[in-house]
């Protein structure tokens, strides 16, 4: 199927939205800085691709299985590293990303640096749209539940959360696993859109790009993550068609936007208008949400 240019950009945007909101769950809501989010995306992409190419598993099944494997890796990585805090966790996730990249680069089945090609084109705007809605809907359900409240409690004050009876390590691992699952879905969609993947697509720079979307939009705000993803996906493409002068220097504008944003509004675009209000309103919100959600 041939895709209109705008639909193509919109499809990429949908994938980036899934990535940004899933990282936002880990870094924004739960407050755990992860620098290896693209790695989970890569695991999902490679698993889904290999299942389809080697075992001829149908698309939807391999997509979900890819996400499950990504979640499994989220668990395996989460157990030892989430006892670490802040900078230490960031370095550990960074290291994990580099390890996975090198494994993918050296394994025969992943095609090494040549990557995997000849992936059938399945992903289109409708599939991505449905995936985005499902991801955001389920994320919202999680965030207004007890689990979501626990995530936010961990971010606000880990000691206090622990004192309130929240098993912080378990909840942090859970956030990691859920985030990795969504990232795995995004990776699968990515592979079936571009029909070619190689380890460099899922390296450190991609992780930083996703983190930029979250920080730009506003940490701990799903709508912010969506807005951040939209800006950083559409802006370079938009600048491409404005005028030749701007198109030549479009990466300068891109960087300029990030710098200005961090000076003018370091908390991110939408951070102040969080959909999940801070203390002390949260208790009342929880009650009404509990009633209203039924």
């Amino acid at each position: 199927m041939r895709m209109n240019y705008y639909l193509q950009v919109l499809t990429v945007l949908g994938i980036n939205i899934i990535l940004a909101v899933s990282l936002n769950l880990i870094s924004g809501y739960t407050g755990q800085l992860s620098l290896g989010h693209a790695t989970f995306m890569g695991i999902g992409a490679y698993t889904a691709t290999l299942l389809t190419l080697k075992l001829h598993v149908p698309f939807l099944l391999s997509l979900i299985f890819g996400a499950a494997v990504a979640a499994l890796f989220g668990f395996i990585i989460g157990v030892p590293t989430l006892r670490l805090k802040g900078d230490y966790l960031a370095i550990a996730t960074l290291g994990f990303g580099e390890i996975m990249k090198n494994i993918l680069l050296n394994m025969k089945i992943t095609g090494g640096p040549m990557g995997l090609r000849g992936i059938p084109k399945v992903t289109n705007i409708y599939i991505v749209a449905v995936a985005v809605v499902i991801v955001i809907f389920s994320l919202n359900r999680i965030m207004i539940s007890r689990v979501g409240k626990s995530f936010i409690a961990i971010r606000e004050d880990e000691l206090a959360a622990e004192a309130m009876g929240i098993n912080t390590t378990n909840y942090k691992i859970l956030a990691f696993v859920i985030g990795a699952f969504y990232a795995g879905i995004a990776g699968g969609l990515y592979a079936f859109l571009f029909r070619y993947i190689n380890p460099n697509n899922f390296g450190f720079m991609k992780s930083i790009e996703i983190l930029c979307m979250v920080v730009l939009g506003g940490m701990g705000n799903t709508a912010g993550a969506i807005l951040g993803a939209a800006l950083l996906t559409v802006l370079p493409e938009f600048l491409r068609s404005v005028s030749p002068v701007i198109s030549q220097y479009r990466m300068v504008f891109y960087g300029l936007l990030l710098v200005i944003m961090m000076i003018v509004r370091p908390q991110g675009l939408l951070s102040g208008t969080s959909f999940y209000p801070r203390y002390p309103r949260r208790l009342s919100v929880e009650k009404s949400a509990g009633k209203g959600g039924q």
Binding site: N4, Y5, Y6, Q8, V12, G115, F194, P236, Q248, M251
Partner: protein
């Protein structure tokens, strides 16, 4: 549920904004036909309506850390397009070039190719520059029946993307294989030692060279090093023990120059052989006397006395005030092959152009005569250069 709907509203707003942009973007890019491309300001075709011009595109990294390759490629194509436009265009129609940046990113390469095909309606694309770009942009072009010719994506599997995908460059396999054959048959060398840099470039050169050399002669030792190292005495001592008469250095000029120097210091008297990683004036600057007589393969030789090469070098220098490199030369040739095929297809794109491209046979370019194999891969003679009196000369 209120919260959810607010998020969804934002999503819908973004989608609608994009569609609105889509609406006003379309006429803009076709309306301002001259200005949407930064490349053809020197042409007189700016006022020409879209029916009178033939549109082709390039994609490649014009920004980012691989930008030098992309810019050289774009420049090479521009020289070819200028040349044909000055000569009156193709059947009276001027050629208009649209260049899109990819940042070296495969996602952007797919976006750029889609834009060129769907918005700018190009009939052919020169690119991508990096193999990963061609891997994602290629299937899009192939589906849309737009001919794409890459001038630098050396990865295996590129021509197999589809019948609309062609390639005009020197693959690592081909140059190593041909040099091994040349060294054994024409130079009469018998015992080869190999030292390679441990990356994909060095590895694929070494594999191909070793396979061929074992077939036609003997490989006595294979050693490895990492880029950036400066002491190779350990490896060279070991190599000396095997008494080879030739040393194939699969790597870049900086290390190659040092390896040549140190092997001379160690009294290792061998014929130095290499690949296109040698091709830089720096090789002689760094290596001095020790690289004298070194023989290596290259895709392009800027000092080639032939008229077509010198015309290209002159035009390139005039326009960009710099020396053309291999990327520029291969892109120039790719564009020339493409433009010739467009001429034969009467300016038509799609199937007609694909058929004409596939018919290309012994096209006399500045990087050697080019034909296409059945899958669209280039079949061409490799240029073999030798260092003589501190200068490069062409052996073949």
């Amino acid at each position: 549920m209120f919260k959810l709907s607010k998020t969804l509203i934002l999503l819908i707003v973004i989608a609608l904004t994009l569609l609105a942009l889509a609406g006003c973007g379309q006429p803009q890019s076709t309306g301002s036909s001259g200005s949407s491309s930064s490349s053809d300001s020197s042409n007189s075709s700016e006022q020409a309506s879209s029916d009178d011009v033939i549109k082709i595109g390039t994609i490649g990294p014009l920004t980012g850390n691989t930008a030098t390759y992309g810019i050289s490629t774009k420049n090479g194509v521009e020289v070819a397009v200028d040349e044909i436009n000055k000569a009156g265009g193709i059947n009276g129609k001027q050629v208009k070039l649209f260049s899109e940046d990819t940042r070296g990113d495969q996602t952007e390469a797919a976006n750029a190719a889609t834009k060129l095909i769907e918005q700018d309606k190009v009939i052919a694309i020169v690119g991508g520059v990096l193999s990963s770009e061609t891997m994602t942009a290629g299937p899009i072009a192939n589906d849309a029946k737009v001919v794409m010719i890459s001038s630098s994506s050396t990865a295996s599997g590129i021509p197999d993307i589809g019948s609309y995908i062609f390639r005009n460059c020197l693959s690592d396999d081909v140059q190593a294989t041909q040099l091994a054959e040349y060294a054994a048959k024409d130079l009469g060398l018998k015992k080869f030692a190999i030292i390679y840099t441990n990356n994909d470039y060095g590895l694929s050169l070494k594999n191909a060279f070793e396979a061929k050399a074992k077939e036609v002669a003997e490989v006595v030792d294979v050693e490895t090093y990492n880029d950036g190292e400066s002491d190779f005495r350990a490896q060279l001592t070991k190599i000396k023990g095997f008494g080879p008469d030739a040393l194939y250095i699969a790597g870049y000029y900086t290390e190659a120059a040092k390896i040549a120097q140190q092997s001379q210091e160690q009294g290792l008297k061998v014929q130095i052989l290499g690949a296109d990683g040698f091709y830089s004036p720096k090789l002689v600057e760094l290596g001095g006397k020790s690289v004298e007589g070194a023989i290596f393969t290259a895709g392009f030789f800027a000092d080639d006395p032939s008229e077509s090469v010198q015309n290209f070098v002159k035009a390139y220098k005039e326009k960009y005030n710099s020396e053309p490199d291999m990327f520029a030369a291969q892109a120039y040739d790719a564009a020339k092959i493409l433009l010739a095929a467009i001429k034969n297809a009467n300016g038509e794109g799609g199937e007609a152009l694909q058929a004409e491209m596939a018919k290309t046979k012994d096209f006399p370019g500045i990087t050697g005569n080019t034909s296409f194999a059945g899958n669209g891969d280039a079949v061409k003679d490799i240029i073999i250069l030798k260092v003589e009196n501190g200068k490069f000369t062409k052996l073949r």
